[in-house]
Amino acid sequence: MTAALSTRGLNKRFGSLIVASDIAISLPRGVRYALIGPNGAGKTTLINLMTGMLKPDGGQIFLGDEDITRLEPQHRVQRGLVRTFQINTLFPDLSALESVTLAICERDGIAPTWWRGLSSYGAATDEAFEILKSLNLVNDCYRPTRELAYGQQRLLEIALGLAAKPSVLLLDEPAAGVPKDESQGLFTAIAGLSRDITILFIEHDMDVVFRFASRIIVMVGGRILLEGTPQEIAEDPRVREVYLGSRHG
């Protein structure tokens, strides 16, 4: 079976700094992947490369069977490769309902329509409402995004991602800045997402990683060090040395 998302020999450098070196990964459908590694390992860069926010110097990216290496970011999103951001990048003045409705309109290709009122597209709004409901955001969905609590904004990030009907969802530290007790709830919501969606998330909290990931990729210095089950990763001495060792030592 073809992988949902895969890369071959992906390379990127900024001047003399190598941020991605010969990255080859292959994410099977429906799997929950964690991407871990010390700061500066190139995790966010990898997401930027896969989603087209950065152009690779070499290598290829496949979404299913399709080579998407040359596609613009928005065209990758339209094909189902969707990401969220580590730092909230939302629409401060739009309400949560409007933001998610917008994402649905873009997905369905109705966003260019300017001669019909938004109220003629009730289905889009209903769907947005359902997504917000599934993430427990309904109570505040009419308020401007900037008035939402930080944790709610993190959830809205995910809601925007879901609105695009992703086949692959890349979550860049979805719980960044969220207190530990709330982050469990956030990951429970992520774990509850449809099994049709392949998920890759960056996360630093090892408890969370081991609890919610079925497989783990370890990156160091722009390279993939190792890929395996949580068990394999936990027992690997190299991981202890470069990652766990540096954190706990």
Binding site: V82, A103, A124
Partner: protein, 332 residues
């Protein structure tokens, strides 16, 4: 203002409430009829105000809703004015077809330049709009044989509307004509703002970097709204040419580009009515101080701009809505 009553509101009711006509809106449009009865001697001024308001509305669509700061929007106003004027001089003076010509010329040039506009943001974008504005101004200035250059375009003769309503000295027809065009265009703009496209524009304004990540082609959106805005600016320019039966370089210069930004900011950016309100205040004030040396006129404008930026973000309408929200908030 929408009351945030939590879950009691269904998504549909919320959307409908956002696009429903408010009492203040209806009152505003009824009030535009007042000059016919209260100030019959000022109908020419009222007509100029309506035209300027239409121009400000066109700028609001790109500045207020898509976040494109343009310092050269007079290019499209002027293109429309010259197109309508030259059309009436060399083809015929029928006003409605002339207005269509003005709209099409400005729209086509707007569409062509939108490919440039959509590529840039920030300072470079401001510079590009400024540069294009000066370019068109210089073009109009140098093409003396057809535009009349610095002497202005003479010999514009406009036929009666529907071959019946003659443009009179008092500006009765002029104001009626400008007001109807303003209102119809406003309806289109209002529908646009409340459409899925309007939502996408607000998305671009709020966070252009996020738009690709939700699958949006921001550039296509920007090209479209820029073309629409240029078309409306062209209609406004065409109206001015037809109602005054002359076109001067003043219709296309930097001063006009700057003035319209000032009006819009003064009234309130991104509120649809901000440009209309700003145009009324600006034009009435300028008429009152018309005896003054024009360079002194810059002083209150400058002070106003500094004051709005420093103390009144959102302009007059922004201030009013905050005031209203404050009063409502204090109610038990």
């Amino acid at each position: 203002m929408i009351a945030t009553t939590g879950t009691a509101l269904t998504p549909h009711a919320y959307l409908q409430a956002r696009s429903r006509w408010g009492v203040i809106e209806i009152a505003f449009w009824l009030a535009t009829l007042l000059p016919f009865f209260l100030f019959p001697n000022y109908l020419s001024l009222a007509s100029q105000i309506a035209i300027t308001a239409l121009f400000a509305l066109s700028l609001d669509l790109i500045l207020g809703y898509a976040g494109i700061v343009s310092l050269g929007h007079a290019a499209f106003f002027g293109l429309g004015a010259y197109a309508a004027g030259i059309f009436s001089k060399f083809v015929w003076g029928e006003p409605l077809s002339g207005l269509v010509v003005a709209a099409v010329v400005a729209g086509v040039v707007g569409y062509a330049t939108s490919f440039i506009i959509a590529r840039f943001r920030h300072l470079t974008l401001i510079m590009i709009t400024l540069g294009l504005g000066f370019l068109v101004h210089e073009l109009a200035n140098s093409a003396h044989f057809i535009t009349g250059g610095a002497d202005g375009l003479q010999g514009v003769r406009i036929w009666p509307i529907f071959n019946y309503f003659r443009f009179d000295l008092y500006g009765y027809t002029a104001y009626s004509y400008s007001l109807v065009v303003l209102f119809l265009t406003f309806l289109v703009a209002r529908r646009l703002i409340n459409s899925p496209f309007g939502l996408a524009l607000r998305g671009i304004r709020e966070n252009p970097n996020r738009m690709p990540a939700i699958g949006a082609s921001s550039r296509a959106h920007i090209r479209k709204i820029y073309t629409i805005s240029a078309t409306i600016a062209g209609i406004a320019g065409g109206l001015l040419a037809q109602t005054t039966e002359t076109v001067s370089l003043g219709s296309i210069d930097f001063q006009r580009s700057a003035d319209v930004v000032v009006m819009l900011v003064l009234g309130g950016v991104g509120k649809l009515y901000g440009g209309l309100l700003g145009a009324i205040i600006f034009m009435v004030a300028r008429d009152q101080f018309s005896g003054l040396n024009p360079q002194f006129w810059y002083f209150p404008i400058g002070v106003l701009l500094v004051a709005v930026v420093m103390f009144l973000p959102g302009g007059i309408l922004g201030g009013l809505s905050r005031l209203l929200a404050g009063i409502r908030g204090r109610r038990p």
